[in-house]
Subunit: 195 residues, 2 copies
């Protein structure tokens, strides 16, 4: 069946499926959605087109796998952000704030750009492919609703983070670090609300 760790090679390559997924991700990131063809993905992954089709029966199947993997990363990152916050009311909102406006591990990085590219590619092919992501988001929204803050506060913080993400995806503008921190401080007001 699945054999992740190959036999002899010390510099063990990831298995073909992972290589194909990585290659496809890299392509949509660098050459754009329209640059992703089966041939290109196969070539960059070091397999033939037939080999790719063996693992992913269609382009849609490839995108679907890409999206599911992405949704997994996404949820893991979310859970990591939450875990990094002390318990108590507003924990989720604080995690979201850190996620969208922090500077550490969870700040915007290159992986987010690839994620965005995958996201767009999938949406372009078929909006239904985003369903795995939608599920994760639904879960996050449920958490926010039970976060112990007045209604709307956590959602507002989350939406602001989403807005920053969109600006990044489409390169609408790139706020300076000072601006990002000013926004963070502003949004922090919405946490100090015991009411």
């Amino acid at each position: 069946m699945k054999d992740t760790s190959s036999t002899s090679s010390a510099v063990s390559l990831p298995d073909a499926q992972t290589r194909i997924l990585d290659a496809a991700e890299a392509i949509v990131h660098s050459r754009g959605v329209s640059g992703l063809t089966l041939e290109a993905a196969a070539r960059d992954a070091g397999v033939s087109k037939g080999g790719l089709l063996y693992h992913f029966a269609s382009k849609e199947a490839l995108l679907d796998a890409l999206l599911r993997r992405l949704a997994g990363f996404f949820e893991q990152e979310y859970l990591g952000c939450v875990a990094a916050q002390p318990e108590g009311a507003g924990r989720i909102a604080r995690a979201m704030l850190e996620w969208g406006f922090g500077q550490g591990e969870f700040a915007c990085n290159e992986r987010h750009d690839r994620a965005a590219a995958v996201f767009l590619a999938a949406f372009h092919h078929d909006p239904a492919l985003l369903d795995p992501i939608r599920q994760v988001i639904a879960r996050m929204r449920a958490d926010i609703a039970a976060d112990g803050l007045p209604p709307g506060h956590g959602d507002a913080i989350t939406a602001a983070g989403d807005g920053m993400f969109m600006a990044r995806i489409f390169r609408l503008y790139t706020p300076s670090e000072a601006e990002r921190q000013a926004m963070r401080i502003a949004l922090q007001r919405l946490l100090e609300f015991p009411r």
Copy 2:
């Protein structure tokens, strides 16, 4: 289906260019980015492919025209929102709040969905096509910076509105009206801040 080929009565159909633009917009909205082909746009606009290419020499030219028109609408709507707010500090931020979370004329409507579709289609073809929009956004950001609020407050409100827009574009979730109003009230806190 109106009368397609009547003699040039002064009233009835918009000129061919507008019809083509409208048809293209409707297609990306209903059938998605990949559904927009020159043939389809021409057919839906009631002209032949040759006719379309007479007015828009290439697909890119068509998308460019679509985007420029969109940027115009966008800026008009922005200016309308600002004009509807009383003068004084935070005017722009108040306009943004109303734009993103209001219920009236400027609330989310079907035209925003078509705008989003056009936006995505253009980005997919060539990210540089978004430049007209980027210009409008740059102007808005400059206005916000001079809005008289503490730094970051207006940006946070704007980002939250953008986040809602993104959720709408990609159908990630659809908040209830109550949730939207809760967010609005939460964000309003960022206006009551005389420094």
